[in-house]
Amino acid sequence: MKNAKKHVFAVFAVLIFLTGTTGASEKQTEIPSEKEKIIVYYFHGSYRCPSCAKIEKWSYEAIKDSFPKALKENRLLWKPVNVEKPENSHFIKKYNLFTKSLIITEVKGEKQTKWKNLEKVWLLLRDQREFFAYVTQEVRNYLDN
C-alpha cells in the first residue's frame, strides 16, 4: 500500500514537473521577442567598394554596441544579404533598391508591418559619431514602438 502511494506520488510529481516545463516553454514562445522582430538588412553585391564595406562595418558596430540585449534575445536581427545571389534578388523589387542599402524592417509574426531605407548613411560616411547616432536612433525608434 505504502509502495502504491509512493508510485502515485512519483507519477504525480513527474506530471507536475512536465506540466511546469511545458508551461515554461509555452511562456517563452509567447514573449514578444518571438512574435515581433526588428530586422536590419544590409544589402550588398559581390563587389565590395570601400564605402560599402565601411557602411556595413559601422552599422553592425552601432547596433552591436547599442543593443546587445535585443540582439541576444533575437528581438533584433542583423542580416547582411548579397542581392546578386538569385535567391535574394527579390529584395531589389521589394525594397526598391538602387544601390547598397541599409534597410530596417518590423516583422510581426510572419508579416512585415513597416520598413525604412536608411539612406542618410551615404551622407554620413565622413563622420563616424553622426553615423552611429543616426543608425542607433533609427533602430531605437523601431524597437521602442
Binding site: Y47, C49, P50, S51, I92, T99, K100, S101, N117, L123
Partner: protein
C-alpha cells in the same frame, strides 16, 4: 527664397560629395590629367566646361528616363552599375593606346589620322565632353545612392527635371576642374622655368595615355573579370 536655395545647394553639395569619395577616384584621375594637359589655363577651363556639360547631360538624360517611367529606378541603376563599368575598361585601354599613338585609325588620309590623334592626345573639348558623359554613366554605389536616392526625389518634389540634375553634374565636375587647373598651371610654370614647354606637353600626353591604359586594365580586372576587389 530660402526654400528654393536649399535644393540648389544640396544638389551641388551631393555632386561634390560624390566626386570626393574614393569610389570614382580612378575616373577622376583620368579626367584631371586629360583636362589638365591643355596648352593653357583657358584651354583647361574650356575642356573642363565641356567635361561638366557632358556629365550634366548624362544626369539629365537619366532623369528624363525615370520621370517618364521608361525604366524603374532599380532597373536603370543596377543596369548602369553593372554594365557601364564593364564597358569602361576596354574603352579606356583603347583610348590610352590612341593617346600613346600605339594604335591609329585605319581610315582617312594620313593628315586626318595625324590630326585626329593629336587632337585626342591634346585633350580636345569633344573628348572632354565624351569623357564627362561616359564617366557620369559609370555609376558606383555612392553616386547611385546620392543621385537616385537624393537628386531624383528632389527633382520630383521641386518639379525640377533639368536644373537639379545639371547642378549635381556641376558638383561632380567641380573638384576635377579645380585639380585640372592646378595641374595645368603648375606644368606650364615648370615648363616655362626650364624652358621646356614642348617636352612637358609631350610627357603629359604620355602620362595621360599610360594612365588611361593602366586604369583600363584595372577596370577590366575589377568589373569584367572580377579578379580584384579593391
Amino acid at each position: 527664397m530660402e526654400n528654393s536655395l536649399i535644393p540648389v545647394f544640396s544638389a551641388i553639395w551631393f555632386g561634390i560629395l560624390t566626386s570626393i569619395s574614393p569610389c570614382p577616384l580612378a575616373t577622376n584621375i583620368l579626367a584631371i590629367t586629360y583636362i589638365g594637359k591643355q596648352k593653357n589655363s583657358y584651354g583647361t577651363l574650356i575642356a573642363g566646361l565641356f567635361y561638366t556639360i557632358g556629365r550634366a547631360f548624362a544626369y539629365v538624360v537619366i532623369g528624363f528616363i525615370i520621370v517618364f517611367s521608361l525604366l524603374s529606378v532599380p532597373e536603370i541603376s543596377f543596369f548602369l552599375q553593372e554594365n557601364m563599368n564593364k564597358i569602361l575598361g576596354p574603352l579606356l585601354i583603347i583610348a590610352g593606346l590612341f593617346i600613346l599613338e600605339i594604335l591609329s585609325f585605319g581610315f582617312g588620309g594620313f593628315s586626318f589620322r595625324e590630326n585626329f590623334q593629336k587632337r585626342l592626345g591634346a585633350g580636345s573639348i569633344v573628348g572632354a565632353y565624351i569623357l564627362g558623359f561616359i564617366f557620369a554613366l559609370s555609376f558606383c554605389p555612392i553616386s547611385a545612392a546620392l543621385f537616385f536616392g537624393s537628386i531624383i526625389p528632389l527633382s520630383l518634389k521641386y518639379e525640377s527635371r533639368l536644373v537639379l540634375p545639371i547642378l549635381y553634374g556641376v558638383g561632380t565636375a567641380l573638384p576635377v576642374l579645380l585639380f585640372s587647373l592646378l595641374i595645368s598651371c603648375s606644368s606650364r610654370f615648370a615648363g616655362n622655368i626650364f624652358n621646356k614647354l614642348t617636352a612637358v606637353e609631350l610627357w603629359l600626353r604620355r602620362i595621360t595615355g599610360l594612365l588611361f591604359f593602366i586604369i583600363g586594365i584595372y577596370f577590366c580586372m575589377k568589373y569584367l573579370f572580377r579578379i580584384i576587389n579593391f
